[in-house]
């Protein structure tokens, strides 16, 4: 598409005028900032950026950017992104959302986005809780977390392991970031956007309001000590030994990207001829 490359935009130029609805101290602010820094670093034209999301506090993010955005229904961001990218391979598509949006109601799309390996980025802001609906357990919540009225004895259910599941489903890029480490986060976003294929970034993004204990994450995170694994078997080992707090690119691999070529080879009139007796 004929967009004139914008002369170096600053990170804040990617923000819209709309003030976020997020609580003070919410981890999602840092994700927004890190994204704008990555865009500025990569000099991405705003007209060609499309941010797609579902529903949740985290899914409000697209409106806070001065790019194109599609704020859809709960759990379906990856489907919208897949359709958009198929129809418009020239766009830079980024899907964002929360752990409830992506791993619970949208879980099936997560599996199939991993295996389809289309060239777009997926950022999940994981706060191990449903923020928007005021604090219920999500698939990544600890089984013994008792603070929700829905599950006063805890869920008693083992946690969803996003990187392990992404790997098993065939993802070609898996990284973990932390909103308390904005520089590291924007570097991960840069790599994810540059990765040819489906790039999944699992972001630990604390919920100040319903999970204040997540403030301790600052002390618990650590760089991914084994380095990046290109071999799925080694990655599986790394990811399975992971304490959920390792930051960095956990796995990156060049795999075939699904993207039909949109080139016209015939006319509709020719196609219609075949119906003649």
């Amino acid at each position: 598409m004929a967009t004139i490359p914008t002369p170096s935009l600053r990170a804040k130029d990617y923000k819209s005028q709309i003030p976020p609805v997020w609580c003070p101290g919410c981890g999602h602010f840092a994700v927004l900032s890190a994204l704008t820094k990555a865009f500025a670093y990569l000099k991405l034209p705003k007209d060609q950026l499309a941010l797609v999301s579902g529903i949740g506090c985290s899914s409000r993010l697209p409106a806070y950017l001065d790019t194109y955005g599609f704020h859809g229904v709960h759990g379906r961001a990856l489907a919208v992104a897949a359709g958009l990218k198929t129809a418009r391979p020239d766009l830079i598509v980024i899907a964002v959302g929360g752990d409830g949006d992506g791993f619970s109601i949208g879980g099936n799309h997560f599996l199939h986005a991993c295996r389809r390996n289309m060239d777009f980025t997926y950022i999940v802001m994981d706060n191990e809780v449903y923020g928007m609906t005021k604090g219920q357990a999500s698939p990544t919540t600890q089984p013994d977390w008792t603070r929700s009225k829905l599950t006063p004895h805890g869920t008693g259910v083992r946690r969803f392991q996003p990187p392990a599941i992404a790997l098993a489903a065939g993802a070609s890029f898996i990284a973990r970031g932390f909103s308390g480490d904005p520089t590291g986060l924007s570097k991960l976003f840069v790599e994810a956007i540059q990765h040819p294929g489906f790039a999944f970034v699992h972001v630990l993004s604390p919920c100040q309001t319903f999970r204040p204990e997540q403030r301790a994450w600052k002390q618990q995170v650590h760089p991914c000590s084994l380095g990046t694994a290109e071999d799925p078997a080694r990655a599986a080992e790394l990811i399975h030994r992971d304490d959920g707090m390792a930051l960095g690119v956990l796995y990156a691999q060049q795999l075939p990207v699904w993207q039909p070529k949109l080139t016209q080879r015939t006319s509709l009139a020719t196609i219609e001829e075949a119906f003649r007796l």
Partner: protein, 572 residues
Amino acid sequence: MPQELPRGSAASLSIAITGSGGSGAVTAGSILLAALGKAGFYGLMTRSAGPQIRGGESAAMVRFSPEPLYCMGDQFDLLIALDWRNFHRFLQEIPLGTASPVLYDPALGEVPEELRLQPRLERPWKRRAAAIAGGRLNLVALGTAGALLGLPCEALETGVQKVLGHKGEAVVDSAVACIRAGFSAENPNLARLPKPRPDPNRWLLSGNEAAALGSLRGGVRFVAAYPITPATEMLEWLAPKLEQLGGALLQAEDELASINMILGGSFGGMPSLTATSGPGLSLMMEGIGLAVASETPVLVADVMRVGPSTGIPTKSEQSDLHIALYGLHGDAPHLVLAPLDIGDCAFTFQWAVGLAEQLQTAAIVLSDQFLGQSRAILDPPPRCETPLTRLKQARERPCRRYLYTDTGVSPMPIPGESPCRYTADGLEHDERGVPSSLAEDHLAQLQKRRRKIEGFAYGEAWAEIQGAGPLCLISWGSSAGAVREAAQRLQAAGQPTRVILLRLLAPLRRESLKAALAGAEQLFVIEQNQTGQLFHYLHGAQVLPPHARSFARPGPLPLRPGEIVRAVRSEI
């Protein structure tokens, strides 16, 4: 303006070919249909299959006439039985006239008790087929039938080429030898049909193909869908065509994905479609509401089958009207259309794509198994000539994507093509798309979305209106065929009859419909479902007088003109 009702009912012949799995009943039917087309007839073929996934008994029902046909007849004039295994499954679907002969090979078993009184024509097909290398009984039988019907042998041979040509020369040669073996043993002919008027410009296609073609004519270049009977053939036809036209088909992981994928494609500027049946439509409802709220154009084809739940997947029914009209939560004005016959699938789908694009909303189009899976010989389907396109040009920044305009339609900039960036939103919003829970924003956006749908000038295509008699038959979708033919018979019997066939179901053209009903004394609303879904819809809209009657009958058996005539006569 109402057109004249065509006079008299078309002289036609109906033939059923039945057999067990692998007997080739459908192949024989397909060749027969192509041959009839070659010989200059109009025709229609429906098929019926047993519950087996592969193989199992199957039947091809073919009706033909020198005049265009829109439905199956009341009864069959000839039964060609390739064998008798599981024949009882078709008994209800194949009502035979008392004088209708049964054509069969006695070497393949006893004629069932139920057919004891029919005239019989016995032929040694099995023996004849055995004498030919690669010989097939169904094709020898077809040769016999073709001769008895008075068809030229060359027409049958052209049919073979058309249907089996892709299987190679050896298969075609052997098939032609079989047909000739059956044909040459006969003295024509059984049928005395008026002479057909051959026209090489006619088309042979299914409703699913016509619907897919209409969508392409309307500009659809992106499709995402999850397979489901009886919509799958639409997708199978579209996949390679989209590829050739620079578009794409994405097989989704489920219908929740398909509807959201086409929202993505459409947001990217590509007219987009998904096709499904009742179960899939149920899953898509939230996404269709998002199309309405975010004003993203999409077309959803529902090729209806018998419901609820998995129902009878291979049979037709018009029972999804209410979910299509009312299935969305919130006040969600959208478009609901239904094609009236196989050829009309092309027009209605093209129009529906155009309307969705023009009005930036969701259009649900209700086809069904009968329309979708039947094949017809017809005149080339007309195009929709009304220019309808999406308004894309926006000037202002920041973009007012949901700008209040007189028409209610606001400019929709396309990513990568315009600097007027915006975020589409399913949350209630203001003109700029900024989420808002203010009462005034909600009201203004509701009014805008309603205005653009209800205020649009839809023109004449909202319905087909024929005749002007005091007896008025109102119908929609695939029932239109049987209703048209019933009306012709009533008219021919001296009962001036008027027919109103609704193509645009939502928004209901209330004033136009009321005008079309002026002077109608007896009114019948005719449809193929149990509860009279259209009848109740029209009553709710207060367009029907209190004495209007409902004639509603569920599937899976097709609505036949004769039962409509009987029902109407018994009431007046």
